[in-house]
């Protein structure tokens, strides 16, 4: 059984409370053992970094040192956490002097980051560590007639040098790979790697909602029944602000947005209620009809 230091991030316990239990459920089924990093702080989500990147790097180095202490790789369930951690890790590993300066702020807590942490999103872990064959072997309710549009979230796509895409080219198409392994049909669309608009939601709501409208209608027009995302921040916007996108565009969009673990859970035959699907703003009942699961 593979074991990981679990970094749930803020949103899976905050604005998207359905994500945390869904992720834990499918990890258990897949034989992924989790030890939660209960004392780890927020990554800064790129916002703190606007003000002070060094501060963000110290916080992330602290989390990395905790995982090193456990001797475990880190499992994340948020594209933003993943990207911010990958970028911080690159800066820390590339420059020993910088690392030493960062570590001077951790000493009081008895921590030191040695530069060996491996933060990895569940999406990558499923492909690279669990393996697609094993994933498929757990599929009891293949998503045969479900047409799913992937939506990545910026931070798990760019900048590619921090995300290890050169060594791991499979990461570039990881969502499509997982959708296919679950038996679903991929709806490829240009917006899949674009921004969901969440970061400017309170600053320029009109633009933020326009992005939600653009991506969801584009996927809908290409025949998608649902969209899946490994990023809870994208979920907050694409699901939570879809009603506003509908008023902005005067279109009945109603495209269900699923968290990655929910899509996997459905294919494993886990009940929609346990996956928290009743908690979405856009009802996923049509999706449940297509995959033959009962609406919670």
């Amino acid at each position: 059984m593979a074991k990981y230091a679990f970094f749930p991030g803020c949103v899976s316990r905050g604005g998207c409370p359905e994500l945390y239990p869904a992720a834990k459920l499918i990890c258990e089924r897949l034989g992924i053992e989790l030890e939660e990093l209960a004392g780890a702080s927020c990554t800064g989500a790129g916002v703190l970094q606007e003000k002070n990147q060094f501060l963000g790097d110290v916080l992330n180095a602290r989390t990395f040192a905790m995982a090193e202490g456990l001797g475990l790789p880190i499992l994340t369930i948020c594209s933003t956490c993943q990207g911010v951690m990958s970028q911080a890790n690159k800066r820390l590993k590339d420059d020993p002097e910088y690392l030493a300066k960062v570590n001077s702020h951790l000493a009081e807590e008895g921590l030191e980051y040695k530069g060996t942490a491996v933060p990895k999103h569940l999406l990558w872990i499923i492909i690279e560590d669990v393996g697609l064959e094993k994933l498929s072997s757990y599929v009891t309710a293949p998503l045969e007639h479900l047409r799913v549009a992937p939506f990545y979230g910026c931070y798990i796509m760019r900048p590619t040098d921090a995300l290890g895409f050169d060594e791991n080219p499979q990461r570039q198409t990881s969502l499509e790979t997982v959708i296919t392994a679950l038996g679903g049909q991929v709806v490829d669309f240009p917006g899949k790697s674009r921004c969901c608009g969440f970061p400017i939601l309170t600053i320029n709501e009109r633009n933020s909602v326009a992005m939600v409208a653009k991506h969801t209608t584009e996927a809908l027009d290409l025949g998608a029944d649902a969209m899946v995302t490994p990023c809870p921040l994208c979920h907050l916007n694409l699901d939570g602000y879809q009603p506003k996108a509908m008023s902005q565009t005067q279109r009945n969009i109603n495209l269900p947005i699923l968290h990655l673990p929910q899509l996997i859970g459905l294919a494993m035959g886990i009940s929609p209620r346990d996956l928290g699907l009743q908690r979405h703003i856009i009802s996923p009942s049509d999706v449940l009809g297509i995959v033959g699961a009962a609406t919670p």
Binding site: V11, G15, S41, N207, Q278
Partner: protein, 317 residues
Amino acid sequence: MQVTFKVQRYDPEVEAPKPYWSEYQVEVNEFTTILDSLIQVREDTDGSLALRCSCRSAICGSCAMRINGHAGLACKTRVITIASEGDTITIEPAGVMPVIKDLVVDMTPFWDKVKAVDPWLQPQGPEPEGEYLAPNEDMLHLAGVMDCIMCGACVSDCTVLEVDPNFLGPAALAKAYRFVADPRDAEDKARLGMLSDYTGIWDCTRCYECVQVCPKGVAPMDRIMALRDRAMHIGFDKTTGARHTDAFAELVGHSGWLDELKLPIKTVGMLNLPAMLNFAPVGLRALRRGKMPPILHKMLPNVENVRRIFRRIEPED
């Protein structure tokens, strides 16, 4: 080896013009660039294909286009780095800007934005006899941003420009940074004030598209973040964007993780009734579904360690 080029075409001179696709087989070797291939097509197969290029060596900035969905310089991209024998490469004109013909776009909106940030030095005091001099080391950090060749790749793929043509955009904002951060320029305050308004630095959604596609390593988004930091420092800290960043830092510095319920409230201000009412329908919908952050936000178990880090580092900045 042979690859297929699938090129988006547009001919403004036909009746009711609309985009269509043409496909070309091209023989390439390990050195052939996308631009070489397209020129070969134009010369040997289809003289009607319109494209723009000049230097062929990533200097002039003429040949930006979308290659397999992402903007880049055709002359800097070698075919073998993105395709194998028999593959198809998709070529489209740069995004956001209007297409004139095939792969040639109208860069007027690009130049208008650059002009809008007053891209010239505005020094203070009497004019010196010779040049406005600055010590080398004060200018070194600007070398990266001065590498911009005005190709428009970043603008093509900017997520905000896609939905809002008024946004100043990555290239112009990087140019603005170049002058704000120039030690000889005296108009920082006026510049940062203008940039703090709608269409400026706070409208960027931090999507990294511009950083990823820029062929010159200008990293426009990083410059925009540096501008945000400078704007807040110089006193433009009451904009919604600045308040959002400050509130985020304050909340994480207090409990160790983000209190999502308090963030929007702190950002717009409890007393800002219209903004608070605007949150209400979304909040109620979320509440009905149980899609809500916990009302009681718990502290991290060892939060004192996080607070100490914030106390020590924040003032240093």
